[in-house]
């Protein structure tokens, strides 16, 4: 996979590998234990200009592809799930701006600014009162002359306190129905966050995702020029599912790596005798390869139609992207669990180099971020009319 956008002799993937191994991994346990932001990794990603890597070169960015982003997320995911998730969520926001806002004068200039400052962008799409449906909003954009106001009760805003800007959804006006949404950019000096809850979770603790009341006043040109319905189906949803699944592959790869190292150490202890769990290793590696294939297939699927807006709104495409999420979020738990069986007590211990506790806790989050039951429900509804297998 050639990515030649990076400075020096590094490709982006090699750089991500180096940052993951040398910067993110040494503090990953601490980031998890203290539920603190992976600031070292983000300082390194910033200085490597990787936060703007998806921005097209004409705006000063790296111009990489979705396949490149996917590979980078997998790489980072092997070292620190939280850093990988924050990186993925930031790139999802960038993808929305790159793909849907460039014909606005303000956003064209903002993309160049992002390349320059390597600013980190968070997302406020969920809201209290919509029952987890991100395609519905309670809050609305209230326009007044050249500016608008918004006030949103967000049950989570990942890394909100560490972000330079937030992209938030809201109804397009106070009279608009819940599904008529726009996406708005709020810069650091335009919004205030009032903490409404904590973030003491089983996993992904370093994403620092408490609930907030988000209040902002910003100029009207910060409203993205197309409806959120378009942004959601063409970019936000597919890119989220692809990049999340990519970093879950990273978590699964890390777990299998520990299982492999454990089996190897066992084999060395008793040369000539194949360790009993080596068959399980073969089994879990086949599961990992299957998971990776699902992600790669989805990346190809998306890239083949990503510039065909009509095809991106097709029901069978939505079903396939939902299935990517369903398959990979369950596969990651399965693979880390299998790795635990292979490593035995050494994997169960928190103080061993084969320890899998953090990876297992992180893996369980995958099925919950956009709950799988909601996605199964959506697919079940669409399958009442869709016939395409």
């Amino acid at each position: 996979m050639p990515i030649t956008v990076m400075s020096r002799s590094f490709t982006a993937l090699e750089k991500a590998q180096q940052i993951g191994l040398e910067v993110a991994a040494p503090v990953a346990d601490e980031v998890d234990r203290d539920a603190r932001f992976p600031s070292e990794a983000f300082a390194a990603l910033r200085s490597a200009r990787m936060l703007g890597i998806f921005i097209p070169p004409e705006y000063g960015g790296g111009g990489c592809s979705i396949a490149d982003l996917s590979a980078i997320c997998t790489t980072l995911g092997q070292y620190c799930s939280a850093a990988a998730m924050v990186f993925a969520m930031h790139q999802i926001q960038i993808a929305c701006l790159v793909r849907h806002a460039r014909n606005s004068q303000f956003f064209a200039a903002y993309l160049a600014e992002l390349s320059d400052t390597q600013a980190l962008i968070a997302s406020a799409t969920s809201e209290i009162g919509v029952g987890g449906d991100v395609r519905s909003s309670v809050c609305a954009v209230e326009r007044d002359n050249g500016s608008f106001a918004i006030r949103k009760q967000a049950p989570v805003i990942s890394y909100g306190e560490h972000a330079d800007a937030i992209l938030a959804t809201a109804r397009s006006s106070p009279d608009a129905p819940p599904s008529d949404q726009v996406l708005v950019l709020l810069k650091r000096d335009e919004f205030t966050l009032t903490r409404a809850s904590g973030w003491d979770t089983l996993g992904f603790r370093g994403t620092c995702s408490p609930g907030f009341v988000l209040s902002a006043i910003a100029p009207v040109d910060h409203i993205l020029p197309v409806s959120y319905a378009e942004i959601s189906s063409q970019t936000m949803l597919p890119v989220s599912h692809i990049l999340w699944a990519s970093l879950w592959v990273g978590i699964a790869t890390a777990a299998v790596g520990r299982a492999r190292a454990y089996i190897r150490a066992e084999a060395r202890k008793n040369p000539g005798k194949t360790p009993a769990a080596s068959v399980r290793l073969a089994e879990v590696v086949s599961k990992l390869h299957g998971m990776r294939a699902v992600v790669n297939d989805s990346v190809r699927d998306y890239e083949s139609i990503m510039n065909d807006p009509d095809a991106l709104t097709a029901m069978n495409f939505a079903i396939r992207m939902n299935n990517l999420k369903l398959n990979c979020s369950t596969a990651v738990v399965d693979i880390v669990g299998h790795s635990m069986l292979i490593c035995g007590m050494s994997g169960y211990r928190e103080d061993s180099k084969y320890s899998l506790g953090r990876l297992l806790r992180d893996a369980y989050g995958a099925a919950l971020m956009i709950n799988n039951d909601r996605i199964y429900g959506a697919n079940a509804a669409m399958l009442l009319v869709s016939k395409d297998d």
Binding site: P56, G63, C64, S65, V98, R99, H100, A101, R102, N103, R135, S136, A176, P177, P178, S179, D180, P225, V226, S227, A229, E230, S233, Q234, M306, N307, D308, P309, D310, A311, T313, A314, M315, N316, A318, A378, A381, M382, L384, V385, S386, K387, D388
Partner: protein, 124 residues
Amino acid sequence: MRHGYEALVSADHIVRAPTQAARSVPARKSIQMSAPHSIMVDKIRDTLRQYARLNRDVSAISEDADLYAFGLTSHATVNLMLGLEDAFQLEFPERMLRRRTFETIANIRESIEELSSDPPTSAT
């Protein structure tokens, strides 16, 4: 790798184009073969009233108005499709299961006309 983003940036325009085309193109042959225009539109409006859960009186919505702006959701679209399939005794093929097919009354009418003019064996 470079992408042709321009196509996407103007997605709004692309999505709406068929509606405008439908207005400027004279009625197709199939219309004469199927139900008269106004009866068909009345039937579509009835189905919308039953299943689309719009935030406005369906009789007041023009044939070219964006139904999604009146609160049509993807979930309601599924029920609307089922309702239309029942009301018109047809089945929407996979290629029509896209956002723009159900974006306006005119688009729905066009799709139904197209399906009504197909030979009956093409339902699968």
